[in-house]
Symmetry: C2
Subunit: 179 residues, 2 copies
């Protein structure tokens, strides 16, 4: 099965060296089909290994569909609605795998930096990789406190409340003054 083949190839080769071609070959399917339906290597990784509740390709569309001054708001809203939708267990599994396995941590890092740095390249601006890492820190921390450590004010807060509180943070990290 394709996702199992993907998990095996990522585990053996790491994110950088894994190829859609080798995953498709192992699963006995066509590589072009995999690229079309799963959004290529990033999409496969997100679904097979991290089990993220979204496809990277789809996310790019969501995030680009609106003014750049509201990017922080769109990111926080998308993050919360997708993870709320699948429940906290999936996020807990993600954190556990980051804290427990060096390999999972490495692939997540590569994926995140490549994906968001690509998104940010349109915006111009300096210190792009630090900006992406700062965004990651606030998003992962928000997920950890809402879905894993389950701090009551964070669990009970409506999505709108958290978007209002946290979006300016993401917006500043992305396009504002950080030094």
């Amino acid at each position: 099965m394709l996702l199992e083949a993907a998990r095996a190839v990522f585990a053996e080769n790491g994110y950088e060296r894994a190829t859609v071609r080798s995953i498709a070959a192992r699963a006995g399917v066509d590589a072009a089909m995999v690229n079309h339906w799963f959004g290529g290597k990033e999409g496969l990784f997100a679904q097979a290994v991290l089990k993220l509740p979204f496809e990277p390709a789809e996310l790019v569309t969501v995030l680009r569909d609106g003014p750049v001054e509201e990017l922080g708001s769109r990111i926080v809203r998308t993050f919360l609605t997708r993870w709320d939708g699948v429940g906290g267990d999936t996020f807990q599994a993600l954190i556990r795998s980051i804290a427990g396995h060096e390999a999972a941590s490495t692939v997540l890092r590569d994926f995140f930096l490549q994906f968001f740095t690509g998104l940010l390249s349109d915006l111009g601006g300096d210190r792009r990789e630090l900006r992406v890492a700062l965004c990651a820190s606030q998003l992962v921390g928000m997920g950890l406190v809402r879905y894993v450590a389950r701090f009551p004010p964070m669990v009970e807060a409506e999505v709108d409340t958290l978007v209002t509180a946290v979006a300016p943070t993401l917006q500043r990290y992305l396009t504002g003054d950080i030094d």
Copy 2:
């Protein structure tokens, strides 16, 4: 030994119901001595269970020693210098225990909310518990990305760089506009 007795009592009773008296009794020492040397229940919990690289009582002094407009900056700097000092493994163990054990997560949450909400009570302002939870989300996320997932721009950044970038976030969560 005192820290072992503390671990056992916290595990059996949870943070709320554990008492310094019962911990001291189990270790065969004087409760007043425990309060004096370990900063009471919070200090024992921080050292015995979470293995935090600071004592809560001492932290209160550090955080109050300066103008309120620089509170965000002092928190970020203290967080980073203390955790940098003990190395990333300790933070990784903390995250692993939050993600793996419901009990650890509950005690951390109680501790964090009590401790920081107390600190914040001097500041006045509304939505105190949400403000504390927002601070927790940014701090824990920063620790996770620097010490556990180890995103290169976050690992390589000087403490000063991160203080400049992240302090305004904490400051807004503590004393600024969040709605």
